[in-house]
Amino acid sequence: MATLSDTPPQDDAPTAVLRAKGVSLGFSGTTILQGVDLDVQPREFVAVVGASGVGKSTLLRALAGLISPRKGKVEIPAGNSPDTRAWSMVFQAPRLFPWRRVRANVELGLEGLSLSKAQRRERALEPLALVGLDEYAERWPHTLSGGQQQRVGIARALAVRPRVLFMDEPFSALDAITRRRLQNELVDLRRRSDAAIVFVTHDIEEAVLLADRVLVLGGGTDDAPAGMRDVIEVALPQEERREQAGFTECVQRIEGLIGTSAADDAP
């Protein structure tokens, strides 16, 4: 099977590709989220859910190192290699650079790695083909639909062959049909990529549909920061998961965990 990475597994026993210990986050003197512990194994898919404002996207940025946690430690042990990056990210809005053609957008993360221009080009076309947009390589982003732009965003993140792929509500701005299609594509992509995925969403069904584990955040009040409520293993086969008997049960269980959160009532 074709994979996006030539890197062989480091050893037989899986070692975490991402380790977070006792992570607390906050802004200007206020802690919004505390005590998050998370180990992500190679190729694992972890979804992070929680009510609006609980700090899901902030947590994702802290795990990626884009912001510093107030307390605790985050580690991505692998680090960058000469031609790959340890992690990459798919944002909520595709945020393609409108002044770059599609291929040049996908090449962004490859710039600065030890790759020739030709290699960069090849490495950009590979994930573009994977998301079905290799024919659009020389187009300007504004000529693409929202769903296509988000696919390019995914290709851009895959091009660097990350160990950890962070996804920040990547499908939330899309219409229902496109969202469903991209969810299915992501299930398919997972099989062909070696990346572990940390996926933030407010859509619990989406989390249960895609993830191996769901990290549930909640419990925040005006006086106390939110925290981890539970980590739910989704022990369902990936095929036709929506149709499985345990699907609804799992969704309801997570809904119950989040429902007790005061953050739900937040404006």
Binding site: L66, S88, F91, F97, P98, W99, R100, G112
Partner: protein, 253 residues
């Protein structure tokens, strides 16, 4: 309001211009305007040809263009550099904020005394005066354009390993701000052309000086020839710039 078709709009515009010239000509011929103060439009093409035949037209245009090119180039380059720098480096911005506020309201022509004292009545002085007006336009538009760039693009650049200042400058700030920066450059091209003539009225060789000479002799037809020259050259530069701008911004919807 109903919209006009393009051919109809163009023909009405042409009619308006032709009507104005005809009215001008007729008023002079009817003695409604003093012929010694306003030239007859019908004499302008002949006078224009005479200026070209004598080689004067090419000489003064070449001279003005050289002040213009140097002034616009220096003013634009410095304006964009300082404006972008101010937008990206808060300390630099704070350092010169009051100075900029103090100097900004001084019109370029108010620098003429210093220009003459420092450089003499020569092309360098003209280029200096031109560069001042062009500098401020480019400074403010570049500053605003870079400040308006969506910080989300910077986050994307950082997430994809472009942490270095120069990388983000080249890959995010400048291309994202390009529409605004180019708008400033275009406005500067116009502003520079206005200043070039004013700067030369003080005796620096060029179109402005030729106009002053002509007005001293009440040769109003020559003055009009150079007024039209200024308008024509500006239209030409602006059109050329638009071509370049459209090419550079072809990524825009």
């Amino acid at each position: 309001m109903s919209r006009l078709s393009r051919p109809r709009r163009l023909s009405i515009s042409a009619l308006g211009l032709a009507g104005f010239i005809a009215l001008w000509e007729a008023s002079l011929r009817a003695g409604l305007l003093p012929g010694n103060l306003v030239p007859l439009p019908s004499t302008i093409p002949g006078v224009f040809w005479a200026e070209i035949a004598d080689g004067i037209w090419f000489e003064v245009v070449r001279s003005s263009l050289s002040h213009y090119a140097v002034g616009v180039a220096i003013g634009s380059l410095l304006g964009i550099t300082v404006g972008v720098g101010a937008a990206l480096v808060p300390t630099f911005n704070a350092l010169h904020a009051w100075l900029a506020r103090l100097l900004r309201p001084i019109p370029p022509l108010a620098w003429i005394p210093f220009a003459i004292i420092w450089f003499g009545v020569n092309p360098t002085a003209a280029a200096f005066i031109i560069s001042i007006g062009v500098f401020w336009i480019n400074y403010f538009t570049s500053y605003s354009a870079v400040r308006a760039v969506d910080p989300g693009y910077d986050e994307v650049a950082i997430a994809f390993g472009q942490q270095r200042f120069v990388d983000r400058l080249a890959k995010v700030s400048l291309p994202a701000a390009a529409p605004g920066i180019l708008g400033g450059l275009r406005a500067g091209l116009g502003q520079g052309w206005m200043t070039v003539v004013a700067a030369e009225l003080f005796g620096i060789p060029g179109i402005g000086q030729r106009m002053m000479e002509a007005s001293g002799l009440l040769a109003t037809d020559i003055v009009v020839v150079y007024m039209l020259t200024i308008a024509g050259l500006y239209a030409l530069f602006d059109a050329l710039f638009m071509v370049v701008q459209r090419r550079m911004l072809r990524w825009q919807p």
